[in-house]
């Protein structure tokens, strides 16, 4: 009996590879440590290290006369964020991000709703790829396409001229704030391009949330006398809301940090991303640039915290 028991424990494997394999089997913690070290070194040192170094710089200030960085702890750089011209930039960016998010949800919802509840078989694949291809295709090419579309001699002007609706475009462009000399240098243009580039990120989370709505809940609502509109309002929409919030994390965050779209299609008034870029580049004011980057980090932190309370992460 004892001989059998002894034999049931296999002998150690031969060769260095075998011994190493046995060692890892007996000490899974060491294997885990070995597996985690390279990615943690990379992300922890290179990424988090740079991030902390950047945040640290926001507590320094720049000497107005010499233009050199003064390495003393101060909150004066943050105070600069509150002067009207800088605060306007923050406000403008947040309002734009909120509007883009709302409009994206309105456009994305019908696509996600159809894909989740009506598309079958071949159409399901068409919808999936129809969302994935624009989502993944080149960011700059998408922006470039809109430069072609919104140009004065471009397709929008041409189509409106054919429909004898040019007066409508002129009326819109003569409005304050949203108007401008042409669509490609107005807030309207910036807004459209932001929606175009970030809206696809909204569709898949909404679709995932809608696909998880159990069919018998909808049947129960109908049995209890709810008409389709009531069922949508009181059953489907509340259950889809976490998906909308999950999608809005992307549209909001991406709009908040973008500096290329407003630079290429937009008026000369700055957004946060452009302010960061200008401060670190031509102005050479790294502390103020760093303080500006803290704004989206804080806003996104709050946003993620609220989203988590709404259960949006389960919809990702």
């Amino acid at each position: 009996m004892s001989a059998l028991a002894e034999r049931s424990i296999l002998e150690g494997r031969a060769g260095p590879a075998g011994r190493l394999s046995d060692f890892f089997w007996r000490n899974p913690k060491i294997l885990l440590l070995l597996m985690l070290t390279p990615p943690l070194l990379w992300l922890g040192v290179i990424y988090l290290g740079s991030l902390f170094a950047l945040l640290l710089q926001s507590f320094f200030s720049i000497d107005d006369f010499s233009g050199l960085i003064n390495y003393e702890f101060t909150l004066s750089t943050y105070r600069q964020l509150l002067i009207p011209s800088n605060f306007d930039i923050i406000l403008r960016t947040v309002v734009m991000a909120a509007l883009v998010t709302l409009a994206s949800a309105a456009i994305a919802f019908p696509i996600a709703y159809y894909a989740a509840r009506y598309a079958r078989g071949k159409w399901k694949v068409v919808f999936y790829l129809g969302v994935m291809l624009p989502l993944w295709s080149s960011y700059l090419v998408k922006v470039y396409a809109w430069k072609l579309i919104l140009a004065k001699e471009g397709i929008v002007t041409w189509a409106l001229a054919k429909l004898h609706l040019l007066w409508l475009l002129d009326a819109w462009l003569s409005l304050p704030v949203v108007g401008g000399n042409s669509l490609s240098i107005s807030y309207t243009g910036t807004f459209i391009v932001f929606i175009y580039v970030w809206m696809p990120f909204m569709i898949l989370p909404i679709q995932a949330a809608l696909e998880r709505v159990p069919g018998n809940l909808i049947e129960a609502s109908a049995d209890l006398g709810g008409n389709p509109a009531q069922t949508f309002r009181h059953v489907i929409f509340p259950l889809a809301l976490p998906g909308i919030i999950a999608g809005s994390i992307f549209t909001f965050s991406l709009t908040l940090g973008d500096y290329i779209i407003p630079q290429i299609i937009g008026s000369s008034r700055l957004f946060i991303g452009q302010a960061v870029y200008a401060q670190q580049g031509t102005a050479g004011n790294i502390p103020l640039a760093a303080a500006f980057t803290v704004v989206p980090i804080v806003i996104m932190g709050l946003y993620l915290w609220m989203a988590k309370r709404q259960g949006a992460f389960d919809a990702l």
Binding site: A17, S21, M35, L36, P38, P39, W42, L43, Y47, S50, L51, L54, A108, P110, I111, Y113, Y114, A115, A116, Y118, G121, K124, V125, Y128, L129, G130, M132, L133, P134, W136, S137, S138, L140, V141, K142, Y144, A145, K147, L148, I149, E153, G154, I155, T157, Y196, P200, E211, G215, S253, G257, D258, Y259, I260, Q263, I264, V276, I286, A290, T293, M300
Partner: protein
């Protein structure tokens, strides 16, 4: 979703969904049209004529080839680094439970959750602080950081489906850890890694925001395009390059889709 099997979609919904899809695709199709236009000074629509001339002109441009070459090399190396780091991380996170597991997932996702400009400026100030000159490798350092997440997501999803008993069975049958990895784990996660790698390649190939901060004088293809967008000099060449970029990025997306589609997502899965 099941209750709607026999009902048709309301007309309004069909129109809204169809218009939404058109809105997403028409601008990209327009890029294809403009690549053939004879107009070189403006973005005139409709194009006064169509020509293939600009393809030949673009083919003979050394700066476009140099930018394309750099982009491909950066994307290839970043993808390899991301594959190694992402797979290790996914294997560790899905293989066991340990303290700080959630934090690691957050750490991997952070570079893509925060706006790219933050990653970019953070890396740039770190490089200047450590006095690292901008080079090919500083671009890769940035790209690999945010490419890890794509590989990680794909690998984690697949590891979840590879049953632990398979690994135990392999060990019981006498395979050592390396053989188990080679003959049991790798064939099971292979397609997920390939798909993650393709998406990482597409992500890196297209990246511009972080790259503007981590590249010195080098021009990747997106940086070349950005220059043309800000100060248009070569409109017809830009049109052709834009079209080629669209075609090149479509391939990895389609490839990744076919590698990771589940049985229940493909045609006939709606039963």
């Amino acid at each position: 979703m099941r209750s709607d099997r026999n009902t048709a979609a309301p007309l309004g919904l069909k129109i809204a969904a169809g218009c939404g899809l058109l809105f997403m695709h028409l601008p990209i199709l327009l890029i294809f049209l403009y690549a053939f236009t004879t107009e070189e000074k403006s973005y005139q629509f409709p194009p006064p004529g169509l020509t293939l001339k600009w393809f030949a002109v673009t083919w003979d441009r050394p700066d476009v080839w140099a930018a394309l070459g750099l982009s491909v090399r950066v994307a290839a190396i970043s993808t390899v680094i991301a594959l190694v780091l992402g797979t290790l991380c996914a294997a560790a996170v899905s293989g066991s439970r340990f303290f700080g597991r959630e934090t690691i997932s957050l750490l991997v996702i952070l570079p893509i959750a925060l706006p790219g400009i933050i990653t970019g400026i953070a890396l740039r100030s770190a490089f200047s602080f450590a006095e690292i000159p901008f080079s090919f490798w500083t671009i890769i350092l940035g790209h690999a950081t945010f490419c890890v997440v794509v590989v990680y997501n794909n690998a984690v999803a697949r590891f979840r489906r590879v049953s632990g008993s398979l690994v135990e069975a392999s060990m019981d049958l006498g395979a050592d850890g390396f053989q188990t990895f080679r003959y049991v784990i790798l064939p099971n996660i292979g397609t997920a890694l390939l798909a993650g790698g393709m998406l990482a390649f597409a992500l890196s190939f297209d990246e511009v925001i972080v790259t503007t901060f981590t590249a010195g004088q080098q021009q990747t293809l997106p940086i070349w395009m950005l220059e043309e967008l800000v100060r248009p000099r070569q409109r017809p060449v830009t049109n052709v390059v834009a079209m080629v970029v669209v075609l090149v990025t479509f391939l990895p997306i389609l490839g990744a889709y076919y590698l990771t589609r589940d049985g229940d997502q493909v045609a006939g899965g709606g039963k």
